[in-house]
């Protein structure tokens, strides 16, 4: 089945929460991704250590973790929820969980960054889905899908761990890649993607499944 996704919708640039100025700023931040790159190695070493200290009840470590990671986590939550209040709640709840469950982080099983960001994303998604269920009509405020510009995807390659992901994302057709990033970063559910793209739910589900399968195959050694 090679049903084309309406590209016009996918590619239209959108400004979810920000005005245009902010959008530009975002572009700049992405292009100057060197900053994150320089930090990342130090962070990789620091994070597991901080989580270990927090597990023992070290408040200074907790405070330090907040100082180092809150802007990054809040940015992710803001992008997912498109709502400053929900994003703040998600961040707050994620840090409660960090304080209470830092001991559950197992360095042997994965990267600390993954643990921390996943925790935040799940809190944000829970809050987002709950809000939608309680107030389904409030939703259309949210943006259309956007594809990350080629430049943005390119910055991924500067991150050691992201290099393989970037290469594999690039093997997908642009519209499918946009579908994955719209889901992962913008928090769209199957249902919302179907509505937004005016495409049957079953089709969306199968596009996602096939894109995931292709990505997984590409990423596996």
């Amino acid at each position: 089945m090679s049903q084309a996704m309406p590209l016009a919708i996918l590619w239209r640039p959108i400004s979810p929460l920000y005005g245009e100025a902010k959008e530009k700023e975002e572009e700049e931040a992405i292009k100057t991704g060197m900053l994150t790159e320089q930090q990342s190695t130090a962070e990789e070493e620091e994070l597991p250590d901080l989580l270990g200290r927090i597990a023992l009840g070290d408040r200074d470590a907790f405070r330090l973790l907040y100082e180092r990671q809150s802007a990054r986590l809040y940015g992710i939550a803001l992008r997912l929820t498109r709502d400053a209040g929900l994003a703040a709640d998600a961040l707050q709840e994620a840090f409660f969980q960090v304080w209470q469950h830092a001991g559950a982080f197992d360095a042997a099983r994965g990267r600390a960054e993954t643990w921390l960001i996943s925790l935040l994303r799940y809190r944000a998604l829970d809050l987002l889905r709950r809000q939608r269920r309680e107030d389904p009509v409030a939703e259309p405020q949210s943006p259309d899908l956007r594809d990350e510009s080629p430049d943005a995807i390119e910055t991924l390659s500067r991150q050691h761990e992201a290099d393989a992901l970037r290469r594999c994302l690039e093997t997908l057709p642009a519209d499918r890649r946009a579908l994955l990033t719209a889901a992962f970063l913008d928090g769209f559910s199957h249902q919302e993607l179907a509505q937004r793209l005016k495409t049957p739910l079953g089709t969306i589900k199968s596009w996602i499944r096939r894109s995931l399968a292709a990505l997984k195959e590409c990423l596996e050694p």
Partner: protein, 236 residues
Amino acid sequence: MSTEDEDRALRAGEYVLGVLDAAERARLEEAARRDPELARAIHAWEERLTPLTRLVPPSPPPAAVWARIEARLFSAAPASHETAIPLPLWRRLRRWQVATAAGFAIAAALLAWTVISPLERQAHPPAPIALGTLAPSQGQGPVLAAVLERNGTLLVASPAPMPPPAGRSYELWILPQGARTPRSLGVMPESGRRVAEVGTGVREAQVMISLEPRGGSPSGLPTGPVVYAGQISALE
């Protein structure tokens, strides 16, 4: 890779990607708690996809957020349960714990059987069809046993009394598999033991205890944090 493995991997992928609705998310988290392979598949997708978040520019949160975190976690008289937001249980377990959790749950439930008084046993002759445990969502606390009997009676028993904080009550809830909203099974007595009727149709369910205003939730749904949670699973 078998079709079953493939399907598991894709379901995990959908979960991590975030395309599932609230009910689907809850179902998958529940499944992952009992299926270590699924939990592993979720972790694998988290590792694969998290680098994508590097595309999102950082944005400093409002200062009020840290103030709220600090106030709720570290204020002079913290009601620590107030802030308890449980991780899904399967996320809190380390690898070896996932492998042994099922065995542990049954052992703990059987052990706890002995703490249920003979009188209670007389009133409810033992014919367990499902067992489980309720673990504290955070920090220290007893593990409670949950025993569902053939006649639809659920016994929840703590090995020690569990008086709630002043002015509050612990309320027991059940969320049978497939149900969308939890049902109240009443307020937990200070003894930490409660016998409730859940009906004979239930085999698999989540059982939770939330912290509520004194006398129980005013809304009929949990309003406070879940402080104990677990799963009962059919024995047969």
